[in-house]
Subunit: 417 residues, 2 copies
Amino acid sequence: MAKKNAFYAQSGGVTAVINASACGVIETARLHKDKIGKVYAGRNGIIGALTEDLIDTSKESDAAIAALRSTPSGAFGSCRFKLKSLEANKREYARLIEVFKAHNIGYFFYNGGGDSADTCFKVSQLSEAMGYPIQAIHVPKTVDNDLPITDCCPGFGSVAKYIAVSTLEASFDVKSMAKTSTKIFVLEVMGRHAGWIAAAGGLVEDHGIPVVVLFPEVEFDQKKFLAKVDKNVKEHGFCTIVVSEGCHYPDGRFLAEQGTRDAFGHAQLGGAAPVVANMIKDALGYKFHWAVADYLQRAARHVASKTDVKQAYQLGKAAVDLALKGRNSVMPTVDRISDEPYKYKIGVADLKDVANVEKMMPKSFITKDGFGITEKCKRYLVPLIQGEDYPKYKDGLPVYVTLKNVAVPKKLGDFKI
Amino acid sequence: MAKKNAFYAQSGGVTAVINASACGVIETARLHKDKIGKVYAGRNGIIGALTEDLIDTSKESDAAIAALRSTPSGAFGSCRFKLKSLEANKREYARLIEVFKAHNIGYFFYNGGGDSADTCFKVSQLSEAMGYPIQAIHVPKTVDNDLPITDCCPGFGSVAKYIAVSTLEASFDVKSMAKTSTKIFVLEVMGRHAGWIAAAGGLVEDHGIPVVVLFPEVEFDQKKFLAKVDKNVKEHGFCTIVVSEGCHYPDGRFLAEQGTRDAFGHAQLGGAAPVVANMIKDALGYKFHWAVADYLQRAARHVASKTDVKQAYQLGKAAVDLALKGRNSVMPTVDRISDEPYKYKIGVADLKDVANVEKMMPKSFITKDGFGITEKCKRYLVPLIQGEDYPKYKDGLPVYVTLKNVAVPKKLGDFKI
């Protein structure tokens, strides 16, 4: 095998553990210098490849790369940019090949979610379509947990832990206040189409908290919802609601839509919590508080799941191992063997089966009334939030690394995106 | 000294560490059984005293009381209820004395903020005004950090740590996304009149984050604000904004007011973050994300400051020590000796000097442009967020105690509040 350099990039919304995958990729590549030359990271994802804006990760010390494991966010910058099909925009693919050739890149590691898996899949076809030998491996990452085949996605376990912990803590709070003040606490969480994150809020039920979960998978029924909340308040004195940003009415309207759309054309959501809180106040008169966790949830490395951090690293490592075995157009996966004790192995999926498939919450994970999670769902979720993996602290704040991100000298002319 | 029972109650908004003060009070009282009989906790604060709804804390095991130290929220229930003056509502004071007499209560420990200090002060005057011997000691607690005389208030250090950590993490996130997507992150924090919590967000400046802080102490100047944000985005590619819920225009209007008022007649706030975010979008066109931390911030025991937990406990203990010394109408305080190394001692303040006085951020803590914190402010804040005091976890979630809260048998007739 001729020695080739590798390209690694982060794509889409970042997470608390995507850098742990980067750490897995780079540390593993460094162990195989006979086969993999340098790891070049794309500055701001695939845009870094298109604009030849590459970062030379060999300029980073082993300690700095190791520190990625406990640093949230995307250390090389991410992007929201989806390659069109080969037919629709051959120019971009030609440019990619031009950059790969110029920098002797034979491995393409792309770290992202569903849209990114599609980009990675397209790149993986370049060998055949355009005659350039490239091995494209997707490293799964998404807080939404909506990639198929893999049992879970790195990033999800930590956001699930954050949401479960935060829901528990805020519920204890509202319980204390309920006698004379706040009786309702509403927490809005991420999850555009899939309710995995919202489901994590349902875990507090076993801690004596009356919680109502609003999933994107269940059409919002205002009357049933208000009746459930009222019942909880009458029985327990208070009620916690965890609402997914993707929760919507039967006609498809989101509970709250800001009217803006992201680069992929998805509606940018936010504000379902105040809508739900005011709805309760208007109908039932209960005093409320509401929170919107937004970026706090997916960036919360300080309360990351140890299981999640470990898997993020393992999948980064596995991606390199697959490349070394000559594989192309694949994604390493987490294959669950048992719930308790939690056992899993690292498997592999074909990208063609991953790209553009969204995995929703199965019906068997949602209670019959549509407002909670089943025992089966709990057995799925609990292992994923197991264990704590605390960052180091200095002066009261976590020590997160910022890399030097030294640019690789350009060899080509400019390229307009 | 004849052996008397003690009354303890939690008042106002609860915090991540108010139970650590309860732990300090109860554990210390248990060490002095020769002088203090039982500790009766008011169920839902002072309302428990008025309605003779007392909790017998002697029914709780030592382990359960010890577990309070790492449990957020108010274990006995809190309330928002302010006693009127003796002249305005003598009936309530007469009832308090009736309950104290019936249960042989000679010590009154009240754990709360400014409004609660006022209630405690009124109770402390009962000896003189109504001839019933009671020693009333206030145990300071408020995330707002706005009590006078004491250097800081238990509850604040932990919320400050949570806000600083969360601001840092979300800022790393937006930095990763800024090239093609979100350039603005707005975090709304608590603090109706005093900007202490917002100030904690300013600590991330030393971690390379361009942050703009909006304090209640500084009248909001939209033009200057937008210019500052734009400058940050042009120089750094992104900008983080930490906005206090109490931020307001020169005419006193809050940036966002929900129109509802709490039991003390204060406007209930929320929603400044989306207002600020949309203001930036409209004027500068930058894509934004926003979060409202609300209860999550004050309940976040999982990332509590070790310094804060320790002081919360110490002040609970000190309150009992003051009572044993025969003191009345006082509050134990944190008296800072030095910033670095951080040294302090436990002092004492007269309640007449504490009640109804709010401590705002001093001018010397806010930068000249009104959008940041000074070095002096950082020297004040950093010791308060020092150290981590992690709760135990089981199945991925923190282990928080729920007490049995056994009621003391009633001896009196009903009382209508």
